[in-house]
């Protein structure tokens, strides 16, 4: 029998039981739609991470105080908890590692800030004049503080957009005075918005001031919590990180890597970790979605078995007038595959609308890739073949005499 005729018969049979076919397809539709939506969500998350790397600057290396020790029986405070990281370390790295372009020490604390009658608790980060350059964070207005400001621990500040909006709802903050822990600071600039980070934290809720000011006037400490560096190129990041680690161990007289009192991380490395997490999440969601596709397949098998029983006489007749085993097999297989393919097509459309809804409604980034559509579609087809085969074979192996006599 010609393929065209096989398909035509299959479609006629499907149309004949429109409601039943529709309900059968629903399983596949939901399965495919969820697979599509989950892949879109995963791709969206990855794209957002890539975006963030671009925002942070791909060349950035962080050296943090403290370490996540892995040795047995060691009590470790984790990054940022020790006081052994110093300004001298930063200067040594700048001097001895040639692939490093810029270096900024960083000291951080939380503080209450007041302007007029507005009150706000925010994070204060202290860096040098290169800090916002390294972090690839341009200013929306005003100007960065200068090397001289850093040198003399001038009370000047850059405001993140959230802080600026909260403290100065209706006026330009540049040139105004704010009080940080009761000390007057002059606002010299406002940063551009970075939005939320991966974990939903507002990156714009921040004040950046010279690290000297933060150390001496706000926190009263001499150590620093982090050194932020940028390499000369993205290729130089990894070798630079290795060299920094070596230099730091030398300076801190550390023999065993387990005793490190610092942590060197690169943005690429952090991004890789996050991408991996996003992938794991996607895989998890995908497997749940695949289960529903599987259930849809079982639905198809079920209805095809019913259909074979109902149409036993028809099968007998077709055999009597010359249908061979493979003709019957093909006919029922075509029916099952048509159900799953049509279901797959509707599912793709539904999945795309759901993804769009997730983006517009919940603000989750989604990306629909052609690959995901092809994969989901092919998967639906495979489900049809797999679950359609058993009923089709059952139909094809009927005895024509018995089938014709079937009531």
């Amino acid at each position: 029998m010609k393929i065209r005729n096989v398909l035509r018969i299959a479609l006629v049979a499907i149309r004949r039981n429109a409601v039943r076919s529709g309900l059968t397809m629903l399983g596949v539709i939901i399965g495919v739609a969820s697979v599509i939506a989950m892949i879109a969500l995963g791709s969206g998350a990855r794209a957002a991470i890539d975006d963030q790397i671009q925002q942070q600057g791909t060349n950035v290396i962080y050296v943090s105080a403290g370490s996540f020790g892995r040795g047995p029986g060691m009590a470790r405070g984790g990054a940022g908890s020790t006081t052994t990281l110093t300004l001298e370390d930063a200067q040594a790295i700048a001097r001895d590692v040639p692939t490093i372009a810029r270096v900024s020490p960083m000291a951080r604390g939380r503080a209450q800030v007041v302007a007029g009658n507005q009150n706000w608790n925010t994070s204060v980060e202290g860096g040098n004049e290169d800090y916002i350059v390294i972090r690839n964070w341009p200013l929306a207005s005003g100007a960065d503080f200068t090397a001289r400001d850093v040198l003399v621990a001038e009370k000047v500040a850059l405001l993140g957009p959230t802080v600026a909006k909260t403290l100065f709802p209706d006026s330009d903050p540049v040139g105004q005075i704010i009080r940080v822990r009761n000390l007057p600071f002059r606002v010299v600039g406002v940063l551009t918005s970075k939005g939320q980070n991966q974990w939903g934290q507002d990156q714009d809720d921040i004040i950046i001031a010279p690290y000297t000011t933060v150390q001496k006037k706000l926190l009263g400490i001499t150590f620093i919590q982090q050194i932020v560096l940028s390499a000369t190129s993205s290729d130089a990041v990894e070798p630079a990180a290795v060299e920094i680690t070596k230099l730091m161990r030398q300076r801190h007289k550390i023999q065993d890597p387990n005793d490190d009192d610092f942590t060197v991380r690169t943005v690429a490395e952090m991004a890789a970790t996050r991408t991996e997490m996003a992938n794991t999440m996607t895989m998890l969601l995908m497997s749940v979605a695949s289960v529903s596709l599987l259930v849809g397949g079982i639905g198809i098998m079920n209805i095809m078995l019913v259909s074979v029983t109902e149409r036993t006489r028809e099968i007998g007749l077709r055999m009597a007038v010359g249908a061979r085993t493979r003709d019957i097999l093909r006919q029922f297989l075509a029916e099952a595959v048509s159900l799953s393919i049509v279901g797959g097509a509707v599912g793709v459309l539904l999945g795309m609308s759901v993804s769009r809804l997730l983006t517009t409604g919940l603000g989750w980034p989604t990306v629909i890739t052609p690959t995901s559509i092809i994969v989901a579609f092919a998967f639906a087809g495979a489900v049809g073949v797999f679950f359609g085969f058993y009923p089709a074979r059952k139909a094809a192996e009927l005895d024509p005499i018995e089938a014709l006599r079937y009531e």
Binding site: R16, A320, G322
Partner: protein, 244 residues
């Protein structure tokens, strides 16, 4: 057919449905097969119609021994050489008469184009007098009309043999006569061999030759002496509301 035997094993019991049947059928014969139920006439028909295989013996169709043919070979042979007419018509429901008639052509190795199929099916419906009802579905047709569609379907691939299994079993007398008229006409005008299975002796009298089965054997094989002519009988019937 030479010494045809067929036995079934049902549980522990072996049932001998045919115990050695020898029958030679000339082309163009109108044969009636009669017998009570359980006489083996259905088994005989299934084997003749290539739906089943004999346990022993040979079945020569046009000189070719087809008793050893496998499922698919028999399917193709049925498609080309045998047309079936059943007691319960066996038309596909919710499918037009025209499409029902086209069905066997779909399974031909060299299936004709859709246009050719329509043309041929329409011509056959015209022959059985159902041309104007080509686009009706079985539920919109009377029993006699459905059986005519089934006859048209049986003829669509120009078979050598038309196997009619109790074709009038579900029909009233008048309609039965009409169906027999169609079969007689096809036999006379087109020279198609017809094997008519029935348990009614008066229906058997429309044939040339009558074979009686009992307990899996042929117990009588005779020519029909006073053959009935369905066309004349129908003309003699009082006028009723036309069925066609």
């Amino acid at each position: 057919m030479v010494d045809l035997k067929k036995s079934y094993v049902v549980g522990d019991v072996t049932v001998h449905a045919l115990r050695g049947v020898n029958l030679d059928l000339a082309r163009g014969t109108f044969l009636a097969v009669v017998g009570a139920s359980g006489s083996g006439k259905s088994t005989f028909m299934n084997i003749t119609g290539l739906l089943d295989r004999p346990t022993a013996g040979r079945y020569l169709l046009e000189g070719e021994d087809v008793s050893g043919f496998d499922r698919d070979l028999r399917a193709q042979l049925r498609n080309r050489k045998i047309g079936f007419v059943f007691q319960n018509f066996n038309l596909l429901p919710r499918t037009t008469a025209l499409e029902n008639v086209e069905l066997p052509m779909l399974y031909s190795p060299d299936a004709p184009s859709a246009a050719d199929r329509h043309a041929k099916a329409q011509r056959l419906l015209d022959i059985v007098g159902l041309g104007p009802r080509a686009h009706h579905t079985p539920s919109q047709l009377s029993g006699g009309q459905q059986q005519r569609v089934a006859i048209a379907r049986a003829l669509v691939n120009d078979p050598e043999i038309l196997l009619a299994d109790e074709p009038t079993g579900n029909l009233d007398t008048r309609t039965s006569i009409e169906i027999m008229e169609v079969l007689q006409r096809l036999n006379r005008e087109k020279g198609i061999t017809i094997i008519l299975i029935t348990h009614e002796h008066d229906i058997a009298e429309y044939a040339h030759r009558e074979v009686t089965f009992r307990d899996g054997r042929v117990v009588s094989d005779r020519l029909v002496q006073s053959r009935r002519d369905a066309a004349q009988e129908r003309a003699a019937l009082p006028e009723e509301e036309a069925v066609t």
